[in-house]
Symmetry: C2
Amino acid sequence: MSKADYYFNEEISIPIDKVYRFEKELYQAAGMNEADAHSVAEHLVEADARGVYSHGIQRNGIYLERFRLGGNSINGRPEVIKQFGATALVDGHNAMGMVVGNYSMDLAIDLAKKYGTSAVSITGSNHFGTCAHYLQMAADAGMIGFVWTINCVNIMAPWGGTERQLGNNPFGMGVPCKTKDSIILDMATSVVARGKIVMARKTNSPIPSEWALDLDGNPTTDPEKAYWGTVQPFGGYKGYGLTFINAIISAILNGSSFGEEIIDLYEEPGKVQNSGHLFQCINIDAIDNLTDFKKRMDDAVDYLKNGKKAADVEEIYVPGELEAISQKKAKANGIIYPVEVIQECREQAEKYQIAKEFWL
Amino acid sequence: MSKADYYFNEEISIPIDKVYRFEKELYQAAGMNEADAHSVAEHLVEADARGVYSHGIQRNGIYLERFRLGGNSINGRPEVIKQFGATALVDGHNAMGMVVGNYSMDLAIDLAKKYGTSAVSITGSNHFGTCAHYLQMAADAGMIGFVWTINCVNIMAPWGGTERQLGNNPFGMGVPCKTKDSIILDMATSVVARGKIVMARKTNSPIPSEWALDLDGNPTTDPEKAYWGTVQPFGGYKGYGLTFINAIISAILNGSSFGEEIIDLYEEPGKVQNSGHLFQCINIDAIDNLTDFKKRMDDAVDYLKNGKKAADVEEIYVPGELEAISQKKAKANGIIYPVEVIQECREQAEKYQIAKEFWL
């Protein structure tokens, strides 16, 4: 998940702050309150800066359409509807997924401070962006964070099946280090995140043949055919098993949408998603000393990175490192976008009558 | 992970109870107390019955040798050395992994009953058998169980590396259903568990070429070469990421062995392992109603199994289903063993002077 995974015909570089300000203006113009617009803008820009374009501002169009058509509630407020010990059940009340996500991870962190660990089960939510954002919140709070979520569309078949019955439900874990960047594992249970296929379709860029199958079950490099076909689970039946488990703990656990109840984020923008997530935290200080742990993490990262490399490999990376490098570059030099995405932003700016000074 | 994965030259079928009685006698004869011998016997026989021969009685030899040489403590007792809210840190005091595992999952279940969720971090442990056993304990208690563990030998390289720096650290989740068998996902982060290579080496059976690489990095069907080479992560860099995360939450979290501290279960039988695990439970009743949840699980299993099948597929399976089928067959007809494993048991029976009536 880095810039290198994408194929841009024409590029443009824009400072992070400028993108953030535009995004905040855009969501406020659409009717969102300032605090929530900040959360959304921060999240989307962070994804782009980290090179995870599939989850960045290219999603403005669908998010705004979903607000307009009632698929999402632009000023919905998440709420704890059940609380027991170190657990909570949150109803997102169809608020923007990032708003529900921030609320729920804050709660998971608070509960883990009090009880050492926590499990926050979330229903009535939507697409919440990247797992990485919430994992970083946990790591910054001295926690090991776990994030599990159902995906917003069924794109995978069970192992041995041919029907779109499962999402490539993403999950991840976040771990703090001492001087190194946090370890942030954020993966979908497919070979690639479907957002990458959406992004490739938008720029009409060919995709690697191992990403997806067409409707007949054949590998394809055509992003249009891939968009309508199925995505393969990573690691074969193991990825299938993980995506089902993820669906269970994210959605079936609390009665959120699963299977035929899942609607398509893109194709059914007026329909409520009722997405489910699960956030867990372990307070490292409850188990061991956080300072000692962070030192051990630094040592572990050094150990792996100093391992013998294969002939064609320049560097061994740990999970989240490539994204952290991308983020630092973006902070220094701006985020590199394909012109098609910026053109979309300009159309959105016009439609939502954003003041010219904020335009990208 | 079923009988079909193995290639036995000559087979023999033995009733479950008979194998259990022999195993219990054997470990008691080696100096273990009756309760612990029961735990070990139950665990190993269950693994074989479920078709997971890699984790069954074929391990008697190495376990007994480790007791004899001081690698494991045959009557060690696990102990809680730190407790905070819904978390606990357990020191296994080098007791048999199954003893530490049962103790720790019982504790995780108790804590989750009280707090809704729990995290039990375990240090000073050993090879604990299959994750599936503890996951079933959690599911039987109305919990969603999570089990994470460091492996007992480094057999994988980091992505882009060539050195054996990581184990194929196994993990899994267990979930109860209403009328269906529990969903038990139990997987190593390699394409296959290394125990399968050990088993194939024992019977000198060829292995599929995608399981392992030889020392030069070439795929091999020779179990001897695979034994000394490296095992590939499942799903490429994603499996690498997961195995590192698993090492972090199982071992680095509490200071158990990681990296160069990891000893080889088989090659260094006199050395203490100091293995780490993490057990987590979510009490389903804390989030939603257990009865309703189990019904939703039954529906979810039906939904997947009733999906359209690929041309050459007879049935779609859910995680743990093949093992549950194997277990039912074994209960009815006995466990099918390769003669080599039974011959080992007879040698062990002789060595430990087991009464003839218990011999396999």
